[in-house]
Amino acid sequence: MLALLINGVGLLLIAAILWWFWLGPQRQKAAAVSGGEKLQILVKGGVYEPDRIRLPAGSEATLHFRREDPSPCAEWVLFPDLEVSAQLAVHSDTAVKIPAAEPGEYPFTCQMQMYRGTLVVE
């Protein structure tokens, strides 16, 4: 009985991991930036907040990263497809200029890809 229970729990956990991290709906709210607005992204505890950012296509934008995590993982933010990167200062705002881009999704991460976010240009 106990064995059945434990096996059941284990399999359920595996299913839950698959669903939560990959298959399930990614209920992320996207924060939008329009002209002149200042968008702050909090870099803390392994997460960019917000981690989904909407930008209008064809115009430059500036994102403000506020890094609250002193661990070196959080030090850089990279937008590999846009060839943009910035070194983030701890406990302060770092402005990161995003060049005008074609519509599409551009991931941004830390150097080690533990912090992950997506820039949605539309």
């Binding site: 064995a3 434990i6 096996n7 284990g10 399999l11 956990l13 595996i14 991991i17 698959l18 939560w20 991290f21 990959w22 399930g24 990614q26 992320q28 803390k44 505890g45 392994g46 997460v47 907040e49 981690d51 002193p70 661990s71 070196p72 993982c73 850089w76 990279l78 590999p80 060839e83 990167s85 910035a86 070194q87 200062a89 701890v90 406990h91 150097q111 080690m112 890809q113 533990m114 912090y115 992950r116």
Partner: protein, 747 residues
């Protein structure tokens, strides 16, 4: 109330403030802003200093309201850097503390377990004692490892998982199981009533220690940028109202007049107004010999004034200086992606959830089919797999090497645009080299003057004739006459005959200078000089016949001299296994002669500028991986077309912007340095990636217990923690080895 010195001060640069009245108006406007304790305008510097808690935006708004402009003076890169260093130092000590506390509990517990073997819970006394230890361990988990748990939770809410998740799950599971044993031992068979508090505490301690060591090692990876930043002094000596004032570097403005004394560093880019001195530019150009600077010459920030005093006008300040742009470029390149890391990137994206699934699956296997005590084995396997998996080593493998490699390049005057350029430079097969300005000086010089009469007299006549011409070869003749301090005579009836030469009257004598066609046209007998002219052509020199008053007077030859170090650099490149092809617009004879002297066997001569790009394209079509080295002025399309474009000499800003690799130094040795460095960096990256892959692909199965049939024991979670903590330190340390890279030129 806080003392004045403790209040934060903000500095703004003012626009439009020109009189004492403005000072009062601006200061008055700011006094009305809530949170401003003190506002002071410095008219000479055009700056405003504000103390108090008011935000920069409100201060700027107040100044604008008063009818002026203001913008915050950015604190310098160096200051920011220092703040970050201080922050890192604080974080480092924090990590050490956490580690010491956790190990302080974990080590005695582990020693107890090893020495007495009593980690079981069977009696009430044991329950109480271990219960107390469990609470202590909980305190350690919260105080020393709380950030892992909060990070894991935040990531989880974002459908994300990272290293924190693994650490939190691993240590949390071990603690929860142990607590279950303490509180309800009867639920488990007797052999499984084992506690693992020591594992939780040790793992937290070791991982904190690993992170502290990693932080230390990482600090060294950015040493190169640090060195570049230190090329600037924090202050500059500016002339204001006839007096010399020392002001912070950030406040120097375009048009300011600055003075530098012997032994001081040039603070900003500018042009010399007065004085002359030798300036050491080696830090920017790699050129070891100091350059003589006088009135009208340009100065670059970060270079060192050697022996004289210079007065100069600031032309570029702040982020516009060449030094600042170099630093910016190095920093950008240091954080860019390398294509080789794509696989590692894909793996690290799915790594953590995959490891979680493997851990549960392995634990279930042990639970269902493993030997007794099953519950204990299940827990050990679950914890060990979660803890030993190290996404960090995988994620750090490339960025750390690129960081060190690109920084090292900057020390050699090699500026790499991005990781892709670095990778492509490492596996080039063919290097296409533009002759002029790369292999040769780019400025023709007079090499030979053969005459039956007086050489100086003939040169004076020819130089006087050529002063009317704008041809590059003419400049060489005039320059040679100047070098010999010959006086130029007045010229009349000057005529340039296209594709033939020039004619004119100097001092009453009719002078002709040109090729054989010109002499034939004018019916001048040059048979006596014919053979000599052929000899000179074979040496790659351009020979011209001279005639005075209708008679052949002699022969002069002009050539673009080969750079001193070109031969050695070509030899190095050949040793690196590259095929070298030379491109030039010159005649075949000249080109062949230069190629032969340098040991180059493939030559494309008599090219038009657009042909260069075509040749690069053809080589690419043949499947060659092509590098192109040129000065970036007229070969920009070819530079862009090649897999890697090396812009030599960094003379133009355009070159810096378009080339994949910019060489600050005007030497082909820079290309060899860049290729050697890129190969060393890629080798380092491969070692790191290999190490990280092997570590994880061996570590995870071992933690899952595949060796149990042979060893009869499972991997202890504590050892898994130690392995994980030190795997990322190893990767960073290996990347740091690149700092000892040495180009073969210097060995």
């Amino acid at each position: 109330m806080a003392k004045e010195s403790e209040l934060p001060a903000q500095t703004f640069r003012l626009q439009g403030a020109s009189c004492a009245g403005c000072v009062n108006k601006i200061e008055g406007a700011l006094q009305k802003v809530p949170g401003v304790d003190e506002a002071r305008v410095n008219l000479a510097d055009q700056t405003l200093t504000v103390r108090g808690g008011a935000s920069a935006e409100t201060c700027v708004a107040a100044v604008e309201e008063a009818g002026y402009g203001a913008e915050p003076v950015r604190s310098s890169e160096r200051e920011l850097r220092e703040q970050q260093r201080a922050e890192e130092q604080r974080h480092y000590h924090q990590l050490l503390w956490r580690s010491a506390l956790a190990l302080g509990l974990g080590l005695p517990l582990m020693a107890w377990g090893l020495l007495t073997g009593e980690m079981m819970v069977n009696t009430l006394a044991q329950q109480l004692a271990w219960g107390a230890v469990g609470l202590l361990t909980l305190a350690v988990l919260v105080f020393c490892g709380g950030h892992f748990f909060s990070g894991a939770w935040r990531a989880f809410r974002h459908h994300n998982a990272n290293m924190d998740t693994l650490v939190a799950l691993g240590t949390g599971t071990a603690w929860a199981f142990s607590m279950l044993v303490v509180l309800l031992p009867q639920l488990l068979p007797e052999a499984a009533r084992h506690v693992y508090f020591e594992a939780s505490a040790m793992i937290i301690g070791l991982i904190n220690l690993g992170q502290a060591l990693e932080l230390r090692a990482r600090g060294r990876t950015s040493a190169a940028v640090e060195k570049l930043l230190q090329l600037q002094d924090p202050t500059a000596r500016v002339l204001r109202d006839g007096r010399e004032v020392d002001i912070p570097l950030e406040q120097v403005q375009k048009g300011d007049r600055l003075r530098v004394r012997p032994g001081e560093k040039i603070p900003v880019d500018g042009q010399v107004l007065e004085g002359s001195s030798l300036v050491d530019e080696s830090m920017l150009t790699g050129e070891p010999v100091p350059v003589k600077k006088g009135e009208g010459d340009t100065l670059s920030a970060g270079t060192l004034n050697k022996n004289g005093t210079l007065l100069f006008e600031a032309e570029k300040v702040g982020a516009e200086t060449r030094l600042a742009q170099i630093i910016e470029m190095v920093k950008n390149a240091q954080s860019s992606r390398v294509p080789i890391a794509r696989l590692a990137d894909k793996i690290s994206a799915i790594f953590v959830p995959t490891v979680m699934i493997i851990a549960i699956a392995a634990a279930l296997v042990w639970f269902n089919w493993g030997p007794d005590p099953r519950a204990a084995h299940t827990l050990v396997v679950l914890t060990s797999v979660l803890i030993i998996a190290c996404p960090c080593a995988l994620g750090l493998a490339t960025p750390m090497s690129v960081m060190v490699g690109v920084g090292k390049g900057a020390e050699y005057g090699v500026l790499v645009r991005n990781g892709k350029a670095l990778q492509q430079a490492s596996n080039l097969t063919t290097l296409v080299v533009d002759k002029t300005g790369t292999l040769t000086e780019g400025a023709p010089k007079l090499t030979d003057l053969d005459t039956d009469g007086d050489a100086d007299e003939l040169l004076a006549l020819l130089a006087s004739l050529e002063q009317g011409s704008e041809h590059p070869l003419a400049e060489a003749v005039v320059a040679a006459a100047r070098d010999r301090e010959l006086e130029l005579l007045p010229l009349s009836d000057f005529e340039a005959i296209t594709a033939h030469g020039v004619r004119g009257t100097v001092n009453g004598k009719k002078i002709l200078l040109g090729n054989r066609k010109l002499m034939q046209r004018e019916n001048i007998d040059i048979a006596a000089w014919h053979e000599r002219a052929n000899e000179l052509a074979d040496l790659g020199r351009t020979a011209m016949y001279a005639a005075v008053d209708g008679d052949a007077a002699g022969l002069i030859a002009v050539a673009d001299p080969i750079r001193d170090d070109a031969k050695a650099a070509i030899a190095r490149l050949l040793r690196l296994g590259l095929r070298i092809e030379m491109l030039t617009g010159d005649s075949s004879a000249t080109a062949e002669a230069v190629a032969q002297q340098l040991g180059i066997d493939r030559v494309h001569a008599e090219l038009l500028p657009e042909d260069k790009e075509k040749i690069v394209g053809e080589l690419l079509k043949k499947g060659e991986r092509v590098g192109m080295a040129g000065d970036g002025i007229n070969d920009a399309p070819a530079l862009a077309r090649a897999d890697v474009g090396f812009a030599i000499g960094a003379g133009t800003d355009v070159a810096i912007e378009t080339a994949d690799i910019t060489l600050m130094r005007s030497s082909l040795h820079g290309v060899a340095n860049a290729i050697e460095l890129s190969r060393a960096t890629l080798r380092n990256i491969k070692q790191n990636l290999f190490g990280a892959f092997i570590y994880n692909t061996l570590g995870i199965p071992i933690a899952a217990g595949v060796l149990y049939p042979f060893t009869g024991a499972l991997l202890s979670p504590v050892i898994a923690g130690a392995a994980m903590a030190f795997s990322s330190v190893t990767v960073v340390s290996n990347a740091n080895r690149l700092r000892f890279f040495q180009a073969t030129e210097e060995q």
